[in-house]
């Protein structure tokens, strides 16, 4: 599975509060209804907490959710 790049913004000013680490781009697996994608998202390098920004959640992600629901 190739990794899709879905975000163009820079997230290097975000940190994970629990770990104190700066978020870095990481390949992340997303699941919905029997479908699986690998996308690059900002994540905490220590605990793996992933950031899903509003624009992604309400944009591309919502679109894909809808498509999968009608499959």
């Amino acid at each position: 599975m190739s990794t899709l790049k879905v975000l163009s913004e820079d997230f290097s000013n975000w940190t994970c509060e629990a770990c104190g680490e700066t978020l870095v781009p990481r390949p992340v697996t997303l699941d919905y209804l029997e479908s699986r994608f690998r996308v690059e998202l900002p994540a905490c390098p220590r605990c793996g907490l992933v950031l899903v920004p509003e624009s992604l959640a309400l944009g591309k992600m919502a679109e894909v959710e809808r498509l999968l629901e009608d499959k």
């Binding site: 000013n13 940190t15 629990a18 697996t29 950031l51 959710e65 809808r66 629901e69 009608d70």
Partner: protein
């Protein structure tokens, strides 16, 4: 639904039936399409419609005497469309005649005896279908008289006959049409048609032919009895067309009779409502015939007959740009998809199941059953989109949960004759009114009144979740039995409908009937301005309930007006069938459309109707607002509570009643409610739109704080909390205030699960 079932359902919708003009025309010219184009000034396109249908259009368009006119629906409001004059105008004004494209030769030949309209029409049709055709007549000079062409300009007649020749038709001036010629031609060709204007069947001494096929006892010979004097030219041409079709079928070895039921003029099943059509007389035809302006004006009188009775009155049916017949097919196709996108999921889930269409439809098309069955089928096959109804189903679970549900006897009693069942939406919308109503019922109803707070199960029913619905009805029945099977006093018309249909063993009575019978509240308050009564769509078939409400209004001294669609024809507010969940923008359109039909302040007796109309900007009151006002001032329309407030209202109501009436401890409030959370107005608006509850946000902040799932951005006081309690991941953008509380600025969610991160 199988194919046969689909066809049965499809056939119920008559929208695709031909208009009366077309059905009555012996050649089935579509006057509706013709007039539509002509009215738009598209003369060449209108001419093309005639050329597509008429044999020798240049001639027929000039001599047609429009037998459709008597059948035209316009004749009931002003006078039938003058198709004869319109055809003539079109024939003389068109600048472009579509080219003829005959089919390749079939190597078969046909002979036609005579040169009247039946002969010419048969030749035209056969030649276009690739048959070699010979017309045998006494003399070409006979043609004008035999075909009623005396008034047709000679050059026009010549041009049309020339077109026949271009199609390969040859004329033979050889003989008297006599039985001897028939025999000779039968021996030499594949089929023979004898024009009855030249030689009727009776003159041939051949038994009268079967009128649908013109077949005779002589194989290959087609003939007809002598047409009655004054037979319309179109009917004569249709006779020739019939012969041509029979000959074609004979040569193909196909059935001569199959599927010809609608060849002759027939009565269309199409229904068109003309109750709102103003009469309009035909445009007089000047001696020189119509000109551009008068033709357009006459064509504009065409009603463009169609049914669409249901579509005109349902924003949902209109929205998807079709009509029930097309939807039935889309729904069927949707169910048949194995791989690929199901195009009709939203269509299926957007019907309000309100039944108005069925009431209006002359054929009672079963749209509700179609959509509900499709939903059940989707649920059963695991294909129902989770997002479609999840919010409503969660809300139902919440209403039936320990923080909202109540099943208790009237304090201080051991048996009760009655139980007040307000449903789950009334407590969410107007908890105080519920409390005051229950107090009044306890005082006035003989034999004690219990209270049952829970949902009737409508959301499960509407979403096609039969298992969940059955469980919900079972739980309701168990509560009711535990209370000693008292008479259920319903305030919500949806509950009343659900109980009647799914808990038939229970006695029910509407709150309105009970108030009328056992005593009105002591101090109702009536607003001064005009009120307009909106019947909820779930009362469509409950004449008694609607009457009880009107009686109650009369007792209050008010006579509300009613919108154009009322009573049995009332419209849904947009809540039915869970439309707001599946298609929020459409629900808003529906509510706005309904609100617009109500004059003055709206008055209704369903909490959801009231709230949705209020949300659409309509000042709207619930009957209980009048009966049990907060104080003795006339009630003013309140805004609709948001999704979080609705839940809070239910919880508070239960807590208050437990405290004050039964003096029992309430269930403890969940931990996350201990957080002090404030919302910016923007956040509140966003959450309402995205259907994110305050409790979802509180839970997220609580869990994020506990688990440390918080992200921060350098240089900003705002932080981001995340939590996935079940199938949805929430994100909350917040700020902490000095006192340790939270200020929420924004929230969003998604269903996709973040399941793994690679390091």
């Amino acid at each position: 639904m199988d194919q046969a079932e689909l066809h049965r359902i499809e056939a119920r919708c008559i929208q695709e039936e031909p208009p009366r003009c077309r059905a009555a025309c012996p050649l089935h010219v579509d006057a509706r399409e013709f007039c539509t184009l002509l009215a738009a000034g598209r003369i060449d396109a209108a001419w093309a419609v005639l050329c597509r249908t008429l044999p020798l259009p240049g001639i027929l368009a000039r001599i047609c005497d429009a037998p459709c006119r008597a059948a035209c629906l316009r004749s009931q409001c002003g006078g039938g469309i003058d198709m004869a004059a319109l055809e003539r105008f079109c024939a003389t004004s068109a600048r472009k005649t579509p080219p003829l494209h005959p089919l390749p030769s079939r190597g078969k030949n046909a002979a036609i005896i005579g040169c009247g309209l039946p002969a010419l029409a048969a030749a035209w049709d056969l030649a276009r279908k690739g048959f070699a055709v010979r017309i045998h007549c006494r003399a070409m000079a006979d043609i004008p008289a035999s075909a009623y062409l005396e008034d047709c300009p000679t050059d026009i007649v010549e041009r049309e006959l020339e077109r026949l020749r271009t199609l390969g038709v040859t004329f033979v001036e050889d003989a008297e049409p006599a039985p001897k010629l028939v025999e000779a031609l039968l021996a030499a060709t594949d089929a023979v048609f004898v024009d009855p204007r030249a030689c009727p069947a009776e003159a041939l001494g051949i038994p009268a032919p079967d009128p649908t096929t013109l077949e005779t006892t002589r194989p290959g010979l087609f003939a007809a009895p002598s047409p009655a004097p004054g037979t319309s030219p179109a009917a004569l041409a249709a006779l020739g067309r019939k012969a041509a079709l029979s000959i074609e079928r004979l040569m193909q070895g196909a059935s001569l009779t199959a599927g010809r039921e609608r060849e002759a003029p027939f009565a269309s099943r199409l229904y068109t409502n003309i109750s709102d059509v103003a009469p309009l007389a035909p445009v007089p035809v000047p001696p020189t015939g119509y000109d551009d302006t008068s033709a357009r004006e006459e064509a504009r009188r065409c009603l463009r007959c169609e049914c669409m009775e249901c579509v005109r009155h349902c924003a949902y049916l209109e929205h998807f740009k079709g009509y029930p017949k097309t939807y039935a097919r889309q729904i069927y196709n949707n169910a048949s998809i194995v791989m690929g996108t199901r195009q009709a999921n939203t269509l299926i889930n957007s019907c309000m199941l309100c039944g108005l269409c069925e009431e209006l439809c002359p054929e009672h098309f079963p749209m509700v059953a179609l959509c509900l069955d499709a939903r059940r089928d989707m649920v059963q096959r695991g294909k129902m989109p989770p997002s479609a109804h999840e919010f409503a189903l969660r809300d139902m679970t919440f209403a039936n949960g320990e923080s909202c549900a109540v099943a208790k006897l009237q304090p201080g009693t051991t048996t009760n004759r009655w139980v007040f069942f307000p449903g789950c939406q009334l407590p969410a919308s107007a908890p105080d009114a519920v409390e005051r109503t229950y107090a009044h019922l306890r005082e006035t109803l003989p034999g004690g009144t219990a209270l049952l707070l829970r949902c009737c199960g409508a959301p499960a029913h509407w979403s096609g979740r039969q298992d969940l619905f059955a469980a919900s009805v079972d739980a309701l029945r168990a509560d009711w039995e535990a209370l000693g099977t008292p008479t259920l006093v319903t305030a919500c018309p949806t509950c009343a409908q659900m109980l009647r249909e799914h808990l038939p063993e229970a006695n029910t009575a509407s709150l309105w009937a009970v108030l009328g019978q056992y005593g009105m509240p002591p101090s109702p308050a009536v607003p001064a301005g005009p009120l307009c009564l909106h019947d909820p769509c779930t009362t469509r078939h409950d004449d008694a309930l609607r009457a009880q409400v009107r009686t109650l209004c009369a007792a209050l001294g008010i006579t509300p007006t009613e919108p154009s669609l009322s009573g049995r024809l009332t419209e849904c507010c947009g809540f039915g069938g869970l439309l707001a969940d599946a298609n929020a923008p459409l629900a808003a359109t529906v509510a706005a459309r309904r609100a617009e039909k109500l004059d003055g302040t709206g008055l209704t007796y369903c909490a959801m109707c009231r709230d949705l109309l209020a949300q659409a900007g309509k000042p709207c009151l619930h009957l209980l607002d009048l009966l049990f006002p907060a104080d003795d001032t006339p009630p003013t329309p309140r805004p609709a509570p948001g999704i979080s407030k609705r839940r809070e209202n239910r919880v508070r109501l239960r807590e208050r009643l437990m405290d004050t009436l039964w003096r029992e401890a309430n269930a403890p409030r969940p931990e996350h409610e201990s957080l002090a959370i404030a919302y910016t107005p923007a956040a509140k608006e966003i959450m309402e739109k995205r259907r994110i509850l305050e409790s979802d946000v509180a839970r997220t902040l609580f869990a994020a704080k506990r688990d440390g799932h918080i992200l921060a951005r350098a240089g900003s006081p705002r932080r981001l909390a995340t939590h996935r309690p079940s199938t949805v991941t929430y994100w909350v953008e917040f700020e902490c205030d000095a006192a340790g509380g939270y200020v929420v600025h924004n929230a969003w969610s998604h269903r996709m699960r973040v399941s793994g991160v690679e390091s």
